[in-house]
Symmetry: C3
Subunit: 192 residues, 3 copies
């Protein structure tokens, strides 16, 4: 092999290596930008005890696995965050208030409610079986780091304020678009 060959070879190799470096760096960027986290995002739309029970059981299971949990409370779901002891009411929600539950513990079952009979048996069963009831599940999710987001359109619609909500000051007030940005980066997104 002649010196010139050696030089020429090296110059070709340099080109191929330079090209590879560019491609690897753009692959890295692509992976980084489209990466989804070990995160569960849940749109909590429903206002029934059993659906909330399911949502918070999933949230607590995910937290136990070390996953991020983001909960977006919207429409009937926002009632799960209501502080039953707070009597202050906005003016726009008086008619709604007649029909709405006053707190998570006051939510009806979606089935077999029978004037509360189904639900009281359900709560009795939970106690017997030593399974956490909804208020404990909500508290445990908060303690383990779930982020609570409250839909600002719902709050406006139902006339709720920060004061009507338990730990309203630890709650993130946002719209559906902000929540969707979080969901895009979540491996699991559910609508409950």
């Amino acid at each position: 092999m002649k010196d010139e060959d050696c030089y020429q070879n090296n110059s070709v190799l340099l080109d191929r290596i330079g090209m590879l470096e560019k491609e690897v760096s753009s692959l890295k960027e692509e992976i980084e930008s489209s990466k989804q986290m070990d995160r569960v995002s849940i749109v909590i739309f429903s206002g029934e005890w059993d659906k909330l029970f399911a949502a918070f059981t999933i949230a607590n299971g995910a937290l136990a696995l070390g996953m991020d949990v983001h909960l977006f409370f919207t429409f009937w779901g926002a009632t799960a965050l209501k502080d039953g002891k707070n009597k202050k009411k906005g003016s726009s929600n008086k008619m709604m208030d007649l029909f709405m539950p006053r707190s998570a513990d006051d939510l009806p079952l979606s089935k077999m409610n029978l004037g509360g009979l189904g639900k009281s048996s359900m709560k009795k069963l939970l106690k017997e079986k030593k399974i956490d009831d909804l208020p404990e599940l909500i508290e445990s999710a908060r303690d383990l780091g779930a982020i609570f987001h409250c839909c600002d359109t719902t709050m406006d619609l139902f006339g709720y304020t920060c004061d009507d909500i338990i730990k309203g000051d630890e709650t993130n007030w946002c719209g559906v678009a902000s929540f969707l940005s979080l969901s895009l980066r979540s491996k699991i997104t559910l609508f409950i």
Copy 2:
């Protein structure tokens, strides 16, 4: 260093570079083939006003973020696309028709409906708060580019035809498998 060493070195380098090029190209293919888009796919199964309101609020939020939106209307959800002014009916759905809403505006609330009282207060509230009602949300989603897919099994089951549906000719008629293929490439898939 001798000429032979230089040559030998280059040959080893060439092998390693060749190997790297193959691996990078197969990584690229793998990333490309499993890539999920900034897309929301929603199976709209429910036929209640409030659930449709949630589905279309999410759709419009996603469209505002520049995301793709694909909506698959199936079962009760297909009634949201019905053209209330169209009186032509297939023969197979006569009995069903007695109980089915005639258009999106005619859908009941899932809760506190009370013979329409809950819903009329809801619509009044929306107007007061200047929040778009369902028919406007549906139109805005179409205008902003959401793709509407109608489940062909549902259409067959309920005896609906293209004529019974608003803008039936701009709607994609397909089965659940086609919709799942779109969902596989979506970062978010919801069942509402």
Copy 3:
């Protein structure tokens, strides 16, 4: 070019190639570890005929596309797996049993049930249109390889045992955290 140059060049090239090899191998690992499968995971929470019909239509569509299907039956959804012919009952669920459906075929519609009228017309329609009814959809999903997971907390709560469930011995008994681990690796996760 001098021998020393050739040597120096090679040593620099070697460093860059070594670096690239490390980066490509860590990209591979990252892609592998965060890879989501062509898999649909469905949390089946609801106990209505129409929702189960939707869940199993999606499951069968996904199986037809060659996708993995994992179904997690929890709360009311667990009744879809009940063996209607089995009369043996645990003691804790006697009160619940009065209100609960006895098998998938016994599940109510979520809407227009009207004492079963809506559902009997639905079943008549399915037969007319030659569309598979729920029990056939469930069997077909099993035959095509869907994995059935039963929520152990629900079984405990409602007092169901392996004997109360159709093919209970072919069913995976697990908690919500195990199911979430499967969902993390699924491109589609739904809550129905």
